[in-house]
Amino acid sequence: MRAAAAAKYVAFARVATALARRDRGELYGRMLFFAVILGVFSSLWRAVAEAGMPIAADPKLLVWYLATTEWIILSAPPVHTDVQESIRRGDVVCRIGRPVSYVGAAFAEALGLLAVRAPLLAATAWACAFAFTGWIPSLTSLAWTLPFGFAAAALITAMYLWIGLLAFWLEDVSPVFWVVQKLLFVFGGLMLPIELYPRAMQVAAAWTPFPAMLAGPASFVLRQSGAGWLMLALEQSAWGGAAALAVWWAFRRASATLTINGG
């Protein structure tokens, strides 16, 4: 029975892989954007080093840090739009009755997309980072970023999915998506490691899931080691659990509203 259920999810994931391949225009655009951003920032961090860097961080490390955070965030497919569309069209109503949980299916599809984007973007990230710095961090630290980075991207995807579910109550979820994404950029330390923020902001960030999504996996590169992996694993699991709960709860509330309204 378990095998059958798993097979269904795998089928969804395969469909998504095909979808991802079809949307490759956007993916190539993302790769180009990646190259540009890394180029700009390698220049930036070199300029900062010239001006006297207050933190003991090599500009090369900071470029690789950015490469990692950008890799994670660009890999996560913006599923909130698909979920919103699906809800608007009324697909969800049909799928509520089906044995495959709608949420599970949507997530499996998203993971499929992620599975295609992540490796391509990782390769782009590393190639560009190497091109602009002429250096590679220790292979162990890179190895540590992979599983945690992938998990982080999955976590971000779950968050996007939850935002998409808000379409049951909101006319348009895009503004919510933008704000959450920006909070992720800031409190996740996308461009600047969180250690460089003012104290107050560091404290605020610690209360959010965002550091576990970006700064956490990327700091292996900064530290050049796998130190802190256990802590990060615990954090990601905790937030993963919270995400699953939030998504499940949202869907339950939504189904309840739908059944009350007569479907």
Binding site: V40, P54, V186
Partner: protein
Amino acid sequence: MRERSNHLAFVSALLATNLKAAVALRGAFVIQVVFMMLNNLTFFVFWWALMRRVPELRGWRLGDIQVLFGIVAAGFGLTVTLAGGVRHLSRFIDDGELDTLLAQPQPVLLHALGLRLQASGFGDMLSGIAFIASSGQVSWRAAPVVLLAIAASALVILACGILFHSLTFWLGNVDTVARQLWELLITFALYPEPLFGGGLRLVLFTLLPAGFVGYVPARLAQRPTAALVVLTIAAASAYLLFAAAVFERGVKRYASGSRFGVHG
């Protein structure tokens, strides 16, 4: 003279209709404006946090970054409100919306640009002006020059949008590519020019004129000189005229009927 004043009446009528349509859903309108302002603010947090530690970067201080960012944001906002149709040009060309416009007596490009208005552009304009005003780099007396700088930036952004989307006339629907290129233009424009090396700098003042979107207008706003005024106006006009000419060429090609796909 009569013809031009009629175009003006037409353009203002388009704008008025667009505004009415945007405000028709009041809640959505406000949300778009407010959230775009928040969006811009979070981008700026990076520079603020960095410059608390490193006050000067290759001659650039936080105030300079604010002016640069403010000009690009306001210019972009101006473009997507007054000429919001530019973001949809590829689609207009590809799905035949252009036919409707060609059957009407007003200039096609002007009409197409005025068909849409993006409410978030108001958020961009407001935050842009807020950044410039709070930068401490620009005095109130310089307001006319600042407005000129914003207008020039907007015109170059618009020109590039028209150019990228006009490729559809020759290559078929290039909507995704055009959008990515446009995004690239804005991205480059938001970063201080000393960060870019020689070869790239050449590109940024020619093929992908981020230099005329951000750097030159920002310089103009902070340290206006007659030469800069001339350069700014000349560059903006040149790009816009070129873009309009390419679009017209494209329409001629469209009218001759050689495209992908057959129409019965």
